[in-house]
Symmetry: C2
Subunit: 265 residues, 2 copies
């Protein structure tokens, strides 16, 4: 199901390199049609070297209203828009932008809010949770800020690259001074929301990204890995009586939030 | 009916200012779907001042394969593509462009070929016809070149602006030296294919663009006016026993030719 393309149709697109594997066209076009919007979301294959020129061109198209940025554009896109949200500034990247009524483009970062929305949708509101977050890269930064924004009680951050983990601790501290945050081991003990933001789990022989044997029943375990949709970590958590959320559910949560940002949520 | 938008979908667009009135999205999307193409054609509202920036951006989008240019971009677009067809060069304008396999963009002009295709589709092949063409503007130039290319036997050209008519006579002479062409009165006598390329007929109180009372039975009368789809001139021709073709049929013919140019004809 998708909107019929007419002369009046408003345009949205996802920009990535490569593009043929992204899920957004399949997710957003039905959402737009269901909302009764005369709008479509298109795939656009743009290389990093061309991103600026592509964006400058897209800005001139008056019926073009919004963009999703995916790999490898999330950091570079931040330098192109007219204004970046606080979350985007903290994370140092954006994954969406939209045209405001005054013609300016504002960018925002929904990778973290998608995790929050997914958790809320399954009844696991992160508010008040003690969070262990493993993996302080782009995804980890966005999720850390998202969880802090959503009212996490405290947060422990781990990365095999200690400097990276320290930078993210500083970021969260600066952005959300009310949320105690510290560097720590990949040990779930004392945390009731544990999130894997490393790519470990994509390959069959990857080691577990954290000490899964210490997971306690009742803890919520999130794995942002998309493929496979059921990782060894998720299975270990399930066996220990944890509630779980996979990368697909997080992406679904994010899509709902982005749809709202685009005006048909 | 239109193709489902996937991450693999190829993009085409029509660029115009304004855009909300164009018919191409409604015409081409069903054509593409019917051809089994994973492709859609989008409306894009771009002003003359932005045309160059928009085109530079579009060129960077690797899954963007073709463009239709409509009012007011047909002349300016010629300066943007890497190569212009002979017809485009003669007319001094293009209305389509596509990306070649080597990445270069070539432009072509189908306004005239649409007229030819429409005539052929209704069994009135312009080959061998003695043509009277009234109105030597953009549309008239394209149609004159199209009919000459299709093998018209000879051509008389009239415009109230004599210098304009003279320029078009020169153009046809230069491009198609085998087709005798001359300046003349808007008098159908001695012609068996008569084409109105002026805007006269759009308003209810417009005078007739040519001496309709001299039309002879059997002559083919073409009126490129789109709105209304049945002009006073077409009615006068019908009453005198002429065969007729209106602007809609010409546009339909052109769409078929452009679809072929885009690779799904």
């Amino acid at each position: 199901m998708q909107s019929v393309i007419l002369a009046t149709t408003r345009l949205f697109a996802i920009l990535g390199d490569p593009i043929a594997q992204v899920g957004s066209p399949r997710v957003f076009n039905p959402l737009m049609a269901k909302a009764g919007a005369d709008a479509v979301l298109l795939p656009m294959h743009v290389t990093p070297a061309d991103l600026k020129t592509a964006f400058q061109g897209i800005k001139t198209i008056r019926n073009f209203d919004g963009l999703i940025f995916t790999i490898p554009h999330k950091m570079a896109a931040m330098g192109l828009v007219d204004e970046v949200s606080m979350t985007g500034q903290l994370v140092g990247a954006i994954n969406v932008a939209r045209r405001e009524s005054d013609g300016r483009w504002i960018g925002d970062m929904f990778d973290g809010r998608g995790c929050v929305r997914g958790l809320k949708d399954q009844g696991d509101d992160p508010e008040g949770k003690a969070v262990l977050l493993v993996g302080a890269g782009g995804g980890g930064s966005a999720v850390a800020c998202g969880l802090a924004e959503a009212g996490a009680a405290r947060m422990t951050i781990h990365d095999v690259d200690k400097a990276k983990a320290e930078r993210l601790v500083d970021t969260v501290r600066r952005g959300y001074p009310g949320v105690p945050v510290a560097l720590g081991a990949p040990d779930p003990t004392g945390h009731n929301l544990v999130v894997n933001c490393t790519p470990l789990g994509m390959k069959p022989d990857d080691p577990l990204p954290l000490q899964a044997e210490k997971l306690e029943a009742g803890t919520v375990l999130v794995d942002i890995v998309l493929k496979p949709d059921w990782t060894k970590l998720l299975e270990a958590a399930r066996q220990r009586g944890c509630r779980t959320m996979n990368g697909i559910a997080m992406l679904r949560g994010q899509s709902m939030e982005i749809a709202r940002f685009f005006g048909f949520g």
